[in-house]
């Protein structure tokens, strides 16, 4: 069993979430195909992945919404389905989509929610609204809120009871940059107070900024996981530059093509400003290899008499890893 688990450093008591070989199907369709990961207490774990990858499905199993299919699932060492009543008071859920009673005001909504949360006594309504910047909307009917404002109210409700474990399914979708930033702060503050967070997002920057560890899912499977550094280091360094010419000019000048570097072909993108050329060096590349690559490119440039604009060595990004994971499978 434990062979299936992706062990976090430290385990057993320290684990908030354990998933081992989870399969989840809807009728004949297998939405989750044997995934395994663990989340330590106090950790922020991000589930990234394509649309329909199975992130929400996985979350809903862990939240005790859906009966787990095959595999091993534990939340605080308990069965999220059978021990729902024990787990619920300790968790906060922000669904990807959940409705409000539109006829209630923002204030009434928070009041109702507070009346139904175990540990919300400490949180005043004003505090809860201030946390998400909705003070001025207290008396407004929920159906009159904008999409982003509803998302903020969602967050206010999810964190109202100061949960030990927070499920955030795309919390910042639809938020403006300022609200997104404020949301990150709310999440980081909760984490600083010891909360564990399982987050999904399509904003890779968000994951890079917040996550201790992350996993990338695609079509029901986890393809990569680890700390942001571990995951990104697999991406390999990149050497990039721009040629100040159009597609047609570039093709005419370099009829026999751009050079290979260390056996790697470039990816060429034609933009309005010129021709962008990127070499992705093999995974986990050393600084020395990048240096050698630059040297050979400079030699080539001198040879053909062209200027390499904005020549740079850059670290692979999470986006590169993401695109590769998706691309490999496709």
């Amino acid at each position: 069993m434990s062979g299936l688990l992706v062990e976090a450093p430290g385990s057993g008591q320290d684990l908030a979430i354990e998933v081992g070989g989870l399969h989840q199907r809807y009728g004949n369709f297998e939405a989750v195909r044997g995934i395994s990961f663990t989340v330590q207490r106090g950790e922020l774990f991000a589930l990234l992945g394509t649309n329909g990858a199975g992130k929400t499905t996985t979350m809903e199993v862990l939240e005790g919404f859906t009966r787990p299919g095959d595999g091993h699932v534990r939340v605080f060492g308990l069965d999220p389905w059978k021990d729902r009543r024990k787990i619920r008071p300790r968790i906060g859920i922000l669904h990807q989509d959940a409705g409000f009673l539109g006829d209630l005001t923002v204030q009434e909504t928070v009041t109702l929610w507070r009346g139904m949360s175990a540990d919300a006594g400490r949180a005043t309504i004003d505090n809860a609204l201030a946390l998400v910047g909705l003070e001025s909307k207290a008396k407004v009917k929920v159906r009159q809120l904008s999409g982003g404002q509803k998302r903020r109210l969602d967050l206010a409700l999810a964190v109202l009871s100061r949960p030990d474990l927070l499920f955030l399914d795309e919390p910042t979708t639809g938020m403006d940059p300022e609200a997104r930033f404020a949301t990150w702060k709310v999440i980081q503050d909760l984490k600083a107070q010891g909360a564990t967070v399982l987050l999904t997002t399509h904003y890779l920057e968000e994951a890079e900024r917040l996550a201790d560890r992350l996993a990338i899912m695609h079509e029901g499977s986890i393809h990569t996981y680890g700390t942001v550094d571990e995951v990104v280091s697999g991406a390999g360094d990149q050497v990039a530059f721009r040629l100040p010419m159009s597609a047609a000019q570039a093709k005419e000048r370099f009829a026999e093509g751009l050079p290979f570097v260390q056996g790697i072909a470039p990816i060429v993108t034609y933009t309005a400003g010129g021709t962008q050329v990127v070499y992705t060096l093999s995974e986990g590349s050393e600084a020395a290899r990048a240096q050698a690559a630059v040297r050979s490119l400079l030699a080539w440039a001198d040879g053909v008499g062209v200027t390499l604009e904005r020549l740079e060595i850059r670290r692979g990004t999470l986006e590169d890893v993401f695109m590769r994971v998706v691309g490999e499978v496709r």
Binding site: G27, R85, R88, P89, H95, G99, L104, W113, G115, M116
Partner: protein
Amino acid sequence: MRTDVLHAVRLARIDLTMLGRNQTALFNVVLLPLLIGWMYTTLAPEQSIEGVPADLFILTGLSGMMLGFVVFVNLVNSFTARREELVLKRLRGGQSSSVAIFGGAGLSAFALYAFQTVLLSVWISRLGDGGMPSNIPLMLLTGVLGVAVFALIAAAFSGITRNAELAQISVLPVLLVVIIGSPVMGPLSVFPEPLQIVSKLIPTTPVTEIMRTAYLGRDFIGDGGGTLTVAEQWIEALPSLGVLVVWVGVAALLARWLFRWDPRHG
């Protein structure tokens, strides 16, 4: 358990607040059945039924039919709309148990039903001798069981109703059976044979008969219509109460089987 009750009360209070803000719904739910009752009294063919003035007989038998509106239609609508609007999903994601969420819905329906019953009692009292109903505890128990049956049936029905618009239609068959099949206008024995069988099977019939008995202090469950003491009323009502308890069980199974929290289903 205590938390469940507390949560149910809070949810019920919110339900009633919102209903208060929606006058059309309030009219349909609370006043429509009374209006139908009034219509019935104008249609009554005889001066008296079973030895009771016709209008008194009819009004004391409205309680069964009222459940169809105030509990069944009301809750099918609200369960279905809230499922489709993903409100049920939110509630279920909170800290309230399913029992508390159902309890809240049932409680708000019960409060409305009780309010309606009080209105009806005042009306009946003004028609009759001005006194109180004969057996209020029996009415209360019957009311609780009746609301439970129809709240659970509503939960089951909402599960097979795709959206709030269709809820208007999907409730009609049940409503029709309840309106036609309950012995409001006369005792069961005057119904045509096939209708009698339907009437005996549906849960509004015991409610109608017990309530009428409890209002008037006379036997409208067995035959006769003779005067009954309070103790005799309880004894006479026992089999009908048993039928209601069985109905609660059946309806609970149906609800368990058919109810849906989430629209993202098949």
